[in-house]
């Protein structure tokens, strides 16, 4: 009888702790996504056109994906790229979205993805994005144990083309002595221009188009999306054109402060561009369609080989200068170009260690 009266008490004593523990766990699990949602991470986004620019919109799409990984980003527009990097270093931004060229200061590997002539077309870009998002390449993006930053996304920004005022300038030799608008902060471009014995004319993103359009330079380089708003057709006139052979691929990247994010976030996040590649590239293709068919200059296969050799020389020089990362250059050759076409001279010639 006494035992019967005590039943609730002993039952409770046995079960109350597990019930409370399960309840606590459930509460924690339920609260976790909401807690993350409340804990917004500031992502400082460089786009010269602010929130209206294509780069910012691309990051808006990425933000939706990041939310599925439990990270809620608050996007902050920056029209000056150096300011975004400075604010990352000053910990005012938990993450930044910047160009590969500027990201080189934080992660040499990701800056190397814009290597001159390393990725010739869309098929190669798609392969590159897959390789970049894979496990084998993770070593290049995570940095060392003491490195505070990690690459959380590599997004394709489209090919960078050479715009010329005279379409007869269609070979490496003919570029010699010509004036090319060259970005001040782009050491790689300066090396290329010097290599082909052309003349560097200092420029930046606000001045290169006017220098091209008013004839101060003979050529400039830019992604296709610049053609319309910067009216490069004025500089091209009826004599000029766009060489249909990219000198580089424009890369846009998201760098995070490791300590501010769950350890597995960046790895999962790098899969975003792999999954969304086709969608992202649709926008790039649409921008290229704005360039009239008559403006394109097709480069003969023979001349493409000359360009390839010149680009290769430039990559080696930049590797030796410490601007390009050797491992990433090798990844782009062995993991991308030689996988797509194993008969390329650089893939057949195994002894050519410097052929990157």
């Amino acid at each position: 009888m006494k035992k019967q009266n005590d039943f609730p008490a002993w039952w409770c004593r046995i079960w109350i702790k597990p019930i409370l523990a399960v309840g606590y766990l459930a509460a924690v699990l339920w609260a976790a996504p909401n807690a993350l949602a409340a804990d917004k991470k500031i992502l400082c986004v460089f786009d010269p056109s602010g929130k209206n620019g294509d780069l910012f919109k691309m990051v808006e799409d990425y933000k939706q994906h990041a939310a599925t990984l439990g990270v809620d980003f608050d996007l902050k527009p920056y029209t000056k790229e150096s300011a975004a990097i400075d604010d990352l270093k000053a910990k005012k931004c938990h993450a930044v979205a910047v160009t590969g060229t500027r990201a080189r200061a934080v992660n040499k590997g990701v800056g190397t993805l814009e290597a001159m002539g390393a990725i010739p077309d869309e098929q190669h870009v798609e392969k590159l994005i897959k390789v970049v998002g894979g496990q084998k390449a993770a070593q290049f993006w995570t940095g060392g144990a003491t490195d505070p930053y990690e690459v959380a996304a590599v997004l394709p920004g489209g090919p960078v083309y050479l715009f010329v005022r005279d379409r007869k300038i269609n070979t490496v030799e003919k570029l010699a002595g010509k004036k090319i608008a060259t970005f001040d902060n782009d050491e790689a471009a300066k090396t290329m221009v010097n290599n082909i014995k052309a003349r560097v004319v200092s420029a930046d993103e606000t001045s290169f188009a006017s220098k091209f359009n008013n004839g101060e330079v003979d050529a400039c380089y830019a992604p296709a999306v610049a053609y319309g708003p910067l009216e490069l057709k004025k500089g091209m006139g009826t004599e000029g054109g766009v060489a249909r052979y990219p000198i580089a691929q424009f890369i846009y990247t998201i760098l995070i402060q490791k300590s501010e994010f769950p350890s597995e976030f960046a790895g999962k996040s790098r899969g975003y561009a792999v999954a969304k590649f086709k969608k992202i590239y649709d926008g790039i293709r649409a921008a290229e369609k704005n360039i009239p068919a008559s403006a394109w200059i097709d480069i003969p296969e023979k001349d493409k080989k000359d360009y390839d050799l010149m680009f290769q020389k430039v990559r080696v020089e930049l590797r030796d200068k410490g601007i390009y990362d050797k491992g990433v250059l090798r990844m782009m050759k062995n993991g991308v170009r030689c996988v797509i076409d194993k008969n390329r001279p650089e893939c057949v010639d195994k002894g050519g260690e410097s052929a990157l």
Binding site: S49, P77, E205
Partner: protein
């Protein structure tokens, strides 16, 4: 009495038949003499009626959704006259297609707000879906605004290379310039799905020089600022775009047409100037309640109000999960936190004890 009723009921019918017969006869005679057709005559009438009466009348109304629905319902009818006339009524099509674009713009805004709400509620898959809906709707808006721009090109030639020849066309020209900017902006939001060429931006900038900035409420200069800010290298040396924008809003305020304010609010949000956005929202609230608004352009003021309101709604949705409450056009700038607040900031006295 019965006879009278019968007479009354028959008389109008007879009159209608007579009128119709005369119109048909004159139409047939006219066609015979000048190789035209009833379709052409009707088209010419509809075209001039749309530009001389529908547009000015619609401008005096405040019902934005009715205006957009009118544009949607009229656009195809107007353009169909292109089948029986020498050319479609391009001038009339500008207003109709811009109104029709506004329908899609409003729908895209709603989808954006639903995405923000889903994000706030921690429902990322729903947010992705709403983001897709928003992008699709932006693409439709871009297509309509771009169509308005194309009709303007048919009337005025390449925008920016020729100006309107008579003052009566200036309003349509101004609408075309804003349509161009909206087409580019919505196409950007649609990730280029509508294929709107970006060269519209410098063309619109040059086109704005055709219009007197004072006469058109500071809007031409505001258009230039939007292009200067959006296109790297477009800003003339030594010009402060924010000062130009401030002058434009002042001109608009004085004239009682607040379109420049909508540009200012959008620019402030797009280029990371939350303090300016907040002050725009505050002062616009004051303007809307003033008696200075020009009733001839009530619709433009409604468009401007809805645009600024949308910027505010986004802030509310992001931070609270619901849109701004009716009759509240306020936000508060907190310099310490570098953040916009939607609640009045506590005064220092409430936080700090007095010594």
């Amino acid at each position: 009495m019965g006879l009278n009723v019968e007479q009354k009921s028959r008389h109008p019918k007879n009159a209608w038949v007579k009128s119709a017969t005369y119109v048909a006869l004159f139409g047939i005679m006219g066609c015979g003499f000048s190789a035209c057709s009833l379709g052409k005559m009707t088209g010419n009438f509809m075209s001039s009626f749309a530009t001389e009466h529908v547009l000015p009348y619609t401008m005096t109304t405040r019902d934005l959704r009715l205006a957009c629905a009118s544009g949607e319902s009229q656009a195809n009818s107007l353009l169909a006259f292109g089948r029986v006339m020498d050319a479609p009524p391009h001038l009339a099509a500008i207003g109709a297609l811009q109104s029709a674009g506004t329908c899609m713009e409003l729908a895209a805004r709603e989808a954006e707000l639903r995405r923000l709400r889903a994000t706030f509620e921690g429902r990322p898959t729903l947010a992705i879906d709403e983001h897709t809906v928003a992008k699709q709707t932006h693409a439709q808006a871009a297509t309509r605004f771009y169509a308005a721009w194309k009709h303007a090109e048919a009337v005025f030639g390449e925008i920016g290379s020729r100006c309107p020849e008579n003052a009566e066309d200036e309003l349509a020209y101004l609408l075309a310039l804003t349509s161009g900017l909206l087409a580019v902006s919505h196409d950007g939001d649609a990730r280029h799905a509508a294929g709107v060429p970006r060269e519209i931006l410098p063309q619109a900038m040059r086109g704005s020089e055709c219009l007197d900035n004072h006469k058109w409420w500071g809007v031409p200069a505001a258009i230039r600022v939007m292009v200067w800010l959006g296109v790297p290298g477009a800003l003339p040396e030594g010009v402060d775009p924010w000062a130009v924008l401030a002058d434009s809003t002042a001109l608009g305020d004085a004239a009682g047409v607040y379109v420049a304010r909508a540009f200012a609010a959008q620019a402030a949000n797009a280029y990371g100037q939350p303090q300016l956005l907040c002050s725009q929202i505050h002062s616009f609230g004051e303007q809307l309640t003033s008696a200075n608004a020009d009733s001839r352009y009530a619709l433009l003021n409604e468009v401007a109000a809805q645009t600024v309101w949308h910027e505010l709604n986004k802030l509310w949705m992001e931070s609270k999960g619901y849109r701004a409450q009716s009759n509240t056009l306020e936000c508060y700038w907190d310099e310490t936190n570098e953040r916009i607040s939607l609640e009045p900031l506590p005064s220092p006295d409430e936080d700090e004890p007095q010594f």
